[in-house]
Symmetry: D2
Subunit: 386 residues, 4 copies
């Protein structure tokens, strides 16, 4: 068995040998192993901070202790999904719980740590787990914090990476979801092998990620990629960000629904959209597939706005491809054809016909945890005991 | 004296010693030295290509043969300026000639090589010159070509770097002028020490350059930065590129003049602008400084368009600063204050108050040759004789 | 079906429609599809070079034409293995043939292209194959050539990448085998997530690869990593490279066998090594495992030399880990323990206990093709028809 | 005059206008300006940390507040030199004091801050100063600390960057002297334009710096470049680091003197070296220049050791050039010729004749402060008031 306290090896000292029997049961591999481990580690973590070195145990390092797995976490408004992912991007196990059940951030982090501990247990080799990556709305890679997320329960600046690292004794990295999805597509999807590309995520908001020279362009404060808040129509629709005419107000979920209201109010043409109680983007897409002309018109207008916005993006950035993800992007040709038309009309002439518009390659439900796992590999290894 | 044919050193062979007298005069340092050198090098270049190795001369390498100077070339529609620039960005000598006098590209390159030869002569140490950098409209760094420049006399794809390298036996790099100016400001000006910034050049056109992680973001085909051809007003003014509503049509010279026509036609308010035969941007700026209200209004509208465009740019890239160069940027506060107002209104809220708007630091006339000299250092050293 | 001639799409012209019947059979998916494809492509390639644009066919690009597979090629003295590898590093199919059967490089490239064509056929979607990566002894990434390989049948500079690209119409990259193995371990093995590490391959020669800031350090001419030809013992054993005392002469296969001769001649101690006709490294390792003291002594001396060499390496580069691959590294503890002792004694004191010595994680037979597939993703996409 | 409290600008609020008279005298530019500034900043810094925002003053930002100067600090055992350096590497003013006068680190930092304040005053525009770079023995770039320097008065880990930043309110970066010298040569000297090179400093110790892809290779813990502690002669001379046979024990000052003792004791040949009371490297070099055969022999042996060590370095790293600095390197041809011979004999054959050995280009006394100034530009700008 791999030693629990490999970090002690470097101490090469065995002072308080009387404590060994007390701790010896940790070596018996049983169900509660990981939870105890986490608690013990937390205690030791505090000790370490108080400059108290704990040379309790000395166990020989086993040769070739490879780190072959990481934990990817996808924090959403409705639920938090954690996954055990190996080097090749295979998701080996999942855990999830309702995010809203933990409005207190400290309790949330404890729950998340427990959830990860279960995955570590399932892995069969907790010491082969290298680090943790987290995809979160308003996650800032530079600071490791969730910063002023409008929709998550915790307000202000939440130092999530630091809090979780203290609980787990593992390195933790945080980034926003558009960046995580882009990492997933770069490592295991449509952008594999691309050095300069853009990913645009069309969900409840509109975010994006820029890869430049093979690396994410974070910008000087980590805020780059706010395509959703570029101005599409000066003095246009009110956006949730406080500005008017933001692209997001036309292309993200809420914008699509607002376009649907406009389309429906412009005429009396019959439409399946009139018959549902609560219209959603998914329903509009379904109605498009059923040939509903007004639904198709909604997507046509959405695609036009999207195409103009992406053309500006491409003129500035000259990407090899623009990859689309998120619920709106699932409209397929109803969105992509008008988007492509508007794109080709508005893009700088040298790039006409040269920029690929692609849908994301990986499945929606995997994109964020996959990307979070890539992020986990990017952060430097860390151990409480080193 | 540094040997002319340092490349021969590696051969370490002196076979045809009878040829030495023939060539010995090259060691006499006289006015025609460099021109002969260039011709000789061209001949040897051809020989080398025909796999004929010329072990004519063997001269001992003098210790510490430092390369301390480069040539920066600024190709404009009206004139071509070449400058001898040292490591610290000091311009030691200049040569210039009228670009339009050489409509034949081959004759142009010959004239340019002669011009550079004069600078090499002036340098006092031709072998201390490392390479050549060229700033040219529509210059493409990836290919070393001028590609379809609308205003230069040579049409299509002009392989300038390759042609000049063959003439000079020195490495030659080419880039467009926005990139060159950005390199100048990064190496010796307002952007020194910045890793992520944007330079926007407002001249007869509107170009820009993006620095990401300390390097130029060229884009997948080398076309990145086309801020001038992002859409500012859908269905708006006709742009020279064929599209409608491009930002350039509102903020570059021609756009400013068009705005002036509009402003003048809207009212009968007296204005200095009405009295001149041929209105120019410089005149409008002068009239602003004299308090002419309509001229100020022209710059206010220009600044507004600029501010909106730059806000979109910043929302996407989150730069530390946006640096402005070019004739329009010389309007100072008449342009910057309305631009700043529009910028702060339209930029993504997290970046409000965080992005510096700066004028370029170096003098206009030096910006391009300085940047071209930085480019020259970036290219790998090359010698016909290695 | 994905169109064969997707590149024609951009032409958007259908001039010679009478040629369609002639070529239509290509759309019928049959056994010889790929071979014909290759031939056709070669013809078109030549046409293209003669500035003859061939607008023979126009087929609509199918949405989301993902490139999900590449070809990895491992050229060895005895055999050439090609493999179809997907994004996640799964080897889906293999082809191999004896390298020595094709002493003429042109015939070899034809055979290799045929071999790859078979893999493309097996893939079921030839157009989903993006590019080709090749691991070859003396392969130079910068030039795409095999340069003066002492053991391969083709002498001098072999422009393999260019030759194969012309045959296949796909981008081709070449690198040496140490670099390929390092890429495999970085993408899918022991070095995943590491930014600064060293891989050392101990086979018939001793090569290595340095990763700095997450990228391979190729050096200014592409020759970096020659650990095998650093001096271990001044005036020591004659190395195949012409120098004396190279580390390789003590740690690669031939060196291990020479050490075995020395050990055997120093005493009359019985040893299993005395009983075999042709001693090999594998046999010595087996004898170590059987407890043969002289075999263990051979590996102890080898390990000592290795440890001293790696300590110098680490003192210069401060890697996170040194990863060992190749036949000699399979000696396990017989090699690693003495190597580790010598390493810790000789390394710069600040790094003591901090540099991991690890064996390669992937299986020997997969390392090179896997690494070659990673290389294939690194090269820019290329198409004859763009 | 540039406003003292530019950071307040962003507040755009002027609440406590009655405080203006109290603080107004800061605008009078007098001798004590900067010292008061520093104190005020410290107070405000504390306020800021207690989430107390101080909207005391509102002063209009002057357009184009460029940062055009930095402070470079060179900490040596004997003295500490601070210099005001502009963007182009011109040293505009210097201050120095004896390092050993301040054995208490806190007092040292206060003295250093005072010294820098004097430079800021001399600059005429304290707000144009961007940041501070420090070259120090055992300086670690990653941590900003001086770590266990054997020769400086302060023991253990000294968090110099953090301490000085708190005093000055400016960003501070720290690196070791070999890295600083390499940065100086890269920015303003022999390595300008090189992407992959090595700098080796031969002073009282032997350190080095590796540039890979244009950036310093720091290694995973920031310890890369320890060429001095690679093994030159197994079981050889005792090195100060505790190991035996380190290259430094043969090539740095102490090693050269030990070689001199050996040479003198081997024969009775007369030598100028016998007549001096305290032999130094400078004297040996002088005696070489006077033709003293034993002194020349000392340098020949030193050069041989150096050449072997550099050959190993080059075989691993394939640099474009190796640049030498430090007192031993001033021996010129007496060192370089034997070094070059040994280098060419021992380097991997593909690199023979391809690696330049160069002396540093800048003057010895400027190298460290110049490099420290380059380092200062590399660190991100920081302000107490942002």
């Amino acid at each position: 068995m791999q030693p629990i306290f490999a970090g002690f090896y470097s101490a090469k000292v065995l002072k308080y040998s009387d404590t060994i029997p007390i701790l010896a049961f940790f070596f018996i591999y049983h169900r509660t192993y990981v939870k105890y481990l986490l608690k013990i580690r937390t205690i030791f973590g505090r000790m370490r901070n108080s400059s108290y070195i704990c040379p309790l145990l000395l166990i020989h390092m086993i040769e070739n202790n490879y780190k072959t797995q990481v934990i990817g976490v996808d924090i959403r408004v409705d639920k938090t999904v954690s996954a055990l992912v190996n080097i090749r991007g295979e998701i080996l196990a999942r855990e999830e719980f309702a995010t809203a059940d933990y409005p207190n951030i400290s309790e949330y982090v404890t729950k998340l740590a427990d959830s990860i501990a279960l995955l570590m247990e399932k892995s069969g080799n907790p010491d082969g787990i290298r680090s943790v990556g987290i995809s979160a709305p308003s996650g800032n890679y530079n600071t490791g914090c969730i910063e002023n997320s409008p929709n998550l329960p915790w307000k202000g600046i939440v130092p999530l990476a630091a809090m979780l690292r203290d609980r787990l004794g593992l390195a933790v990295a945080v980034d926003n979801n558009a960046n995580a999805i882009a990492m997933a597509e770069h490592a295991f999807g449509a952008a594999h092998g691309m050095k300069d590309f853009v990913l645009v995520n069309l969900g409840s908001g509109m975010g994006s990620c820029i890869f430049s020279h093979g690396n994410i362009h974070q910008g000087t404060n980590g805020f780059a990629g706010e395509i959703g808040h570029t101005t599409y129509a000066s003095g246009g629709r009110q956006c949730g960000c406080g500005k008017q005419g933001c692209l997001e107000a036309y292309t993200a979920s809420k914008g699509v629904l607002q376009t649907a209201q406009e389309v429906l109010s412009e005429s009396d043409t019959p439409s399946l959209m009139r018959s549902v109680q609560k219209l959603t983007v998914r329903l509009i897409i379904e109605f498009c597939n059923q040939g509903d002309q007004l639904a198709i018109e909604v997507m046509r207008r959405t695609g036009h706005a999207l195409g103009v916005g992406l053309a500006n993006y491409a003129s500035l950035f000259n990407p090899e491809a623009i990859i689309l993800s998120g619920v709106v992007s699932r409209a397929g040709k109803w969105l992509l054809e008008p988007a492509n038309d508007a794109f080709e009309t508005h893009v700088f002439h040298n790039m006409k016909g040269k920029v690929k518009l692609l849908n994301s390659f990986n499945e929606d439900k995997d994109l964020n945890v996959l990307g979070a796992s890539v992020l986990a590999w990017d952060v430097k290894e860390y151990s409480l005991f080193k």
